[in-house]
Amino acid sequence: MDVALLADRVRRAVLEHTLDNDGGYMSQACSSAELLATLYGRFMNIGMPDRPIEPRPWLGTPRHGNTEYRTGADFNGGVHDARDRFILSPTHYSLVLYALLVETGRMSPQGMKQFNRDGSSVEMIGAEHSPGMEVMTGSLGQGLAQAAGMALGRKLKGASGRVVVMMSDGEFQIGMTWESIQFMAHHHLDNMVVFVDVNGQQCDGAVDSVMRIDPIDVRIRSFGARAAVVDGHDPAAIMKAGSRAPDGRPLFVLAMTDPCRGLDLMRKNAPKLHYLRFRTPQEKAGYKAVLDAWPKRGS
């Protein structure tokens, strides 16, 4: 499927879900749709389930004796040494990931109906048992280090598959993130590629008002990693930047994005874009009108 079309479908699906549920992580879909669509549509070498998977109910925590327990890796075709692993670090993007899994035929459409329902694995802030997830990353900052451990393990084993990580820009305020980058550089983990949705937004508002992280590319390079800055809504540019030949350094692709891309109506909420709520019926009707008028694109 065409990546731009896939991104458009993801954005539309999240808007539809947000209307159905009177709220949702909409700006994350607007900013990251092309990025995640590029990863799933072209960049990653991951497996494909035989058919769209119906999400399992929540089957308990990982513990001795819980033989039912599984991570959500099977939605990505399972874990194989020769294939890539995908780690979603900011799990506040889970809704976007779920929509993408549906649009790519990995999860059954009914899965979206289980979002944030009691007893469901399709959790609001996904855990490792949620569709498409493999590790616990909701405590921000821990995704990159866990991915680095996987990448180091793959180097030690001689496994060819890469570790692909998606991060949010707010995570670069966390001290641990910089511990991880220096670790990745020191151990030459050039078998991991980290894509960052630089949408300039976090829970309290604009990143620049909460805690400045600029110049993020310079900071990353000064820690010994490579950093490419690209238009985060340009699939070809994302693909090209992520495909640089490994040279001993970890690679970061900074996708500069617009948190209201494709949904101009949301701009009036700035700088509070982290979670979209409808304050009045009129406001909700406005978003409904956008959905009803959503252009028909592609096949």
């Binding site: 990982p62 001795h64 590790v135 821990q142 996987m150 180091l152 084993k157």
Partner: protein, 335 residues
């Protein structure tokens, strides 16, 4: 009594020789945690993490996801305090086989409050899936690798370094949730762990010589804490129970025993020796055990209070005791 120099350092190199899945992770305290021999013998399996413990613990979780068994080596405070969220979410929740070796437990360091892990057992016991072990002598230090490796999940070990006494025979290794019954008696039951067991052996030798009947139990598994032997030992102490630990009395051994006392319905006085809701400071081990009241004399005083007698035991009496390796009582059912 035999004193063994650097038992972990020597044992680790030998033990890891035929285990290619075992890695050692260290945070700039490699020699201090006796992992330098491993580093030199197996450089490819030694992962230097720098002074960055939060990253180290999450990296350890990631390595498990690729089939490795990471042995994390650093001071206990830096595992349990600095990287607690990482231990919880990257290791304990997913039930991954990261083995964490926390050195300098309690007041075994003169390094002061920043280096003294007086709360590590409480923190680690609170985490679902976590097994918590504490070594008390050279035999336990040498055998704890086998035990930790055999457990399918995360393990936190309070580890001893440097010159370590041998209290237990080498053919009696540390075992999961298996208390060592070091003496049997029916008046007072004493539970001890880690470095406190040697102090208890010193005190109990004199107390027994003065006619006090003591059950002494050495605990090396602080979680799980489910052995039936524990309940039997609790019931044996007709006059009361004493716990002795190199840790805050809340959240560690004393709390675990109190909980079991309550569960068994045994209403006996319980005296918990250890750090009483206080921080400590930089000083020698013996001085701090005396100051905080969990040395041999503190135990003597606690036992005297429980049995309501003054046995006129002096420091000289305690100092004259020769502590020799002690076999566990063969038939614990005798309790």
């Amino acid at each position: 009594m035999e004193i063994v120099s650097r038992p972990h350092g020597r044992n680790l190199v030998k033990w890891a020789a035929d285990k290619p899945d075992v890695l050692v992770l260290s945070a700039d305290l490699t020699g201090s945690c006796e992992a330098d021999g491993f580093r030199d013998a197996y450089p490819r399996r030694f992962i230097s993490c720098g002074i960055a413990e939060q990253n180290m613990l999450s990296v350890a979780g990631g390595l498990c996801r690729e089939g490795f068994i990471p042995l994390v080596h650093t001071f206990a405070v830096f595992i349990c305090r600095r990287a607690f969220d990482q231990v919880a979410m990257s290791v304990a929740y997913p039930n991954l086989p990261v083995k964490m070796f926390g050195f300098l437990p309690g007041i075994t360091t003169p390094g002061g409050a920043t280096h003294q892990a007086i709360d590590d057992v409480a923190l680690m016991r609170s985490l679902p899936n976590m097994t918590v072990l504490e070594t008390g002598d050279a035999t336990e230090v040498e055998s704890v690798l086998d035990l930790a490796y055999s457990i399918d999940g995360p393990v936190y070990v309070r580890m001893l370094r440097g010159d370590v006494p041998r209290l237990f025979p080498t053919d009696e290794p540390i075992r999961a949730d298996h208390p060592r019954i070091l003496s049997l008696g029916d008046e007072v039951t004493v539970f001890s762990s880690g470095i406190c067991t040697e102090e208890v052996l010193r005190a109990s030798a004199v107390l027994k010589a003065r006619g006090v009947s003591i059950t002494h139990v050495h605990i090396s598994t602080l979680k799980p804490f489910a052995s039936g032997l524990i309940d039997q030992a609790i019931r044996a102490g007709s006059r009361g129970i004493v716990t002795v630990e190199n840790h805050l009395v809340d959240g560690g051994l004393g709390t675990a025993v109190a909980s079991r006392c309550a569960s068994t319905g045994v209403g006996r006085p319980l005296v918990r020796l250890g750090l009483q809701d206080t921080w400590s400071h930089g000083a020698g081990r013996a001085a701090l055990m005396r100051e905080h009241g969990f040395d041999a004399m503190a135990l003597v005083n606690a036992v005297q209070d429980l049995i309501g007698a003054n046995l006129s035991i002096s420091l000289a009496d305690l100092g004259a005791v020769r502590v020799e390796p002690v076999h566990s009582v063969a038939k614990a059912e005798a309790l």
